[in-house]
């Protein structure tokens, strides 16, 4: 699939600005970003539910801008499932076969096989209102896969599920996509979903793609301040300072990073890449603002005058609020960004 300079505007509001993207066959691509970044609008243009203001959409070799949703051979799973409440689970799954005039003799077999894949074979007579959230999600999935489309589109399908079920469904989705080998475009604001499911992630912000890369590169090699701050939980520490003679200078500390000069620079470092230590041995020291026990680690937020750094420490680490602690910052773990352009400065 290819998106060529796709834009979408309503009056003065531009939701998607000149996006170009090529999605490989059988790839699992995630569109990730905060609310209002244009990811759902992009997906809806691919589905045919919105018309692009500019640009072209190709599925295979075919330009599909003027094709109705039903003619694009895409299947979509909606955030609120979009099930037909007046039909049984069986009829919901069968519906695409019925309207596409698949021979009736094939319906029962296809529906039952698909129901088996999503473990719904015992619930075919039920109505959607009699199902749990996870079961409804599986009905929506089954309805999407029953006719083996060219492309799956999934618009935040797990966002209405509780945390535990979300984890389970993530694994099921990944497995299903791998088994069916169908090109999938997945929209989410949840970076954990993006990192665990995607072959590639397109991080979107204000209608443009900030970075398009593998999950590993998105995490370890962010291209700009937005991606750096958006990816990671807790998010990357970002402090402003000045870059002079290869040294990043903050009011509390300095780090030798070996990059060219920049009057306004931002240093980024992930909480797990900082080290808690005694104030005497540290690069910098500050007062403990808060700490959180997460089970697998302890998150300590330290106040340095007007800035704060969050450090991920050992789960046995204990400290008191207002206690003075030291932090070690390792240059090789730091990312430097030009504050004005927000772009990453590289060695």
């Amino acid at each position: 699939m290819k998106l060529e300079n796709i834009s979408k505007s309503w009056g003065n509001v531009t939701a998607v600005k000149n996006i170009s993207l090529t999605i490989q066959d059988q790839e699992f691509l995630v569109l990730l970003g905060p609310s209002g970044c244009g990811k759902t609008t992009t997906m809806r243009m691919i589905a045919g539910l919105e018309e692009p203001s500019k640009g072209n959409i190709f599925i295979g070799e075919k330009r599909v801008n003027d094709e109705l949703p039903k003619d694009r051979d895409v299947a979509m799973v909606f955030q609120n499932y979009g099930l037909y409440p007046h039909m049984s689970v069986y009829e919901n799954i069968r519906y695409p076969l019925k309207v596409r005039k698949v021979p009736k003799s094939l319906h029962e077999n296809l529906v039952r096989k698909t129901a088996q894949k999503v473990e719904l074979e015992d619930m075919l007579n039920r109505r959607p209102r009699e199902l749990s959230g996870g079961q409804r999600q599986r009905v929506a999935l089954a309805r999407a896969i029953v006719r083996a489309p060219t492309v799956f589109l999934m618009d935040e399908p797990l966002s209405n599920l509780d945390a535990k079920l979300r984890v389970n469904m993530r694994a099921e989705l990944k497995h299903l996509q791998h088994e069916l080998k169908i090109t999938t475009i997945y929209v989410t604001h949840d970076q954990i979903e993006a990192m665990t499911l995607a072959d590639r992630v397109a991080v979107m912000d204000h209608g443009i793609i900030s970075q398009l890369d593998s999950p590993e590169k998105i995490y370890n090699d962010p291209a700009n301040l937005f991606v750096a701050g958006f990816i990671g939980s807790p998010s990357m520490n970002l402090v402003k300072g000045e870059l002079k003679e290869g040294i990043f200078k903050h009011s509390n500390f300095s780090v030798k990073v070996g990059l060219k000069e920049c009057s306004e620079a931002t240093l980024g470092v992930r909480p797990e890449d900082l080290e808690l230590t005694n104030p005497e041995n540290a690069v910098c020291s500050g007062r403990v603002y808060s700490f959180e026990l997460t089970g697998e680690s302890t998150l300590v937020t330290i106040q340095f005058e007007e800035d704060r750094l969050t450090v991920r420490g050992h789960n046995k680490y204990r400290v008191k609020i207002d206690e003075i602690v030291g932090v070690n910052i390792f240059p090789e773990k730091c990312y430097i960004f030009e504050t004005e352009t927000q772009q990453r400065l590289r060695r």
């Binding site: 589905a47 895409v74 979509m76 909606f78 955030q79 037909y84 519906y95 695409p96 309207v99 929506a140």
Partner: protein
């Protein structure tokens, strides 16, 4: 200071008394008509609570000169035809207003609703002149046309409210699954909006069934409906309340039967519109 159980008892009694008063207030006219239909004329004027019931009134109203059966037939055909034409058209219009972004849609919708604010007495004469010139005075067709003009805006407004409550995701899912727009309306929207459509149909039927002003002006003999027929029950001795009561029951009875048969959809339709 009263104890809590005593206060509760007084509250319960007051509630019961208020509900009973309201029920009596509503039911007295209904009782009056029902009892009057089975009384002789003299029993009505004597305000007798205990009386010997008779079915004679019902026999009289169906005979000449009243011929209520003809009027019953006219009312049924007119009301039924109005609903059969109005509801599908109103549903399509309501769907368009609800789902499509049309140029000037707000103005169009307000204009459609504003026809409801025009007093009927203002437009009855223009309708009379129009139908006279078309040569369709005193026909059921003229009544259907006039009822459509009165009922369609109301039906569109009511059905639009129900369609607005259907999640867009469900329709879009049907479009992506392979439906065209007509299939979406037929397979998804209509079944989901059915309680609302039925509710609108019932209201429209009742409005058409009870319509009096246009019917009394436009009809004279062949297309006279039941409400107009009621005005015939007077003689030298005065108003024939016993016959009016019997005819009144014939007007009300189909409404009761209709409401009982589709009560489930009616209640669901009313509450679906209320809770969104």
């Amino acid at each position: 200071m009263l104890s809590r159980p005593a206060r509760k008892q007084i509250n319960d009694f007051l509630q019961f008394f208020l509900i009973l008063s309201a029920a009596v207030f509503i039911m007295i006219p209904i009782y009056w008509i029902i009892s009057g239909a089975f009384k002789q004329q003299v029993d009505i004027f004597q305000l007798k609570l205990l009386f010997t019931p008779t079915l004679e009134n019902f026999k009289i109203i169906f005979k000449s000169p009243y011929n209520l059966l003809d009027k019953l037939y006219n009312s049924t055909v007119v009301a039924f035809s109005t609903v059969v034409v109005a509801i599908p058209l109103a549903t399509i219009a309501a769907y368009s207003f609800s789902r499509f972004r049309l140029t000037g849609e707000r103005i169009m919708f307000v204009m459609i609703l504003s026809t409801q604010f025009v007093p009927a007495v203002v437009i009855v004469l223009p309708f009379f002149i129009l139908f006279r010139d078309l040569g369709i005075l005193d026909t059921k067709l003229s009544l259907v046309l006039v009822n459509l003009s009165l009922i369609m805006p109301f039906a569109i407004w009511m059905i639009k409210g129900f369609i607005d409550g259907i999640p867009l995701d469900t329709e879009e899912a049907a479009l992506v699954d392979g439906s065209n727009r007509i299939q979406v309306i037929k397979n998804v929207v209509l079944p989901m909006a059915l309680p609302g459509v039925i509710t609108a149909a019932i209201f429209c039927f009742i409005l058409a069934w009870n319509e009096f002003l246009f019917a009394v002006i436009i009809t004279t003999n062949k297309a006279v409906t039941m409400p107009v027929g009621l005005s015939m029950f007077h003689a030298e001795e005065g108003v024939l309340w016993h016959l009016i009561s019997a005819a009144g029951i014939m007007i009300m009875l189909p409404m009761f039967v209709l409401a009982t048969l589709i009560q489930k959809h009616f209640v669901q339709g009313m509450t679906m519109g209320a809770v969104r």
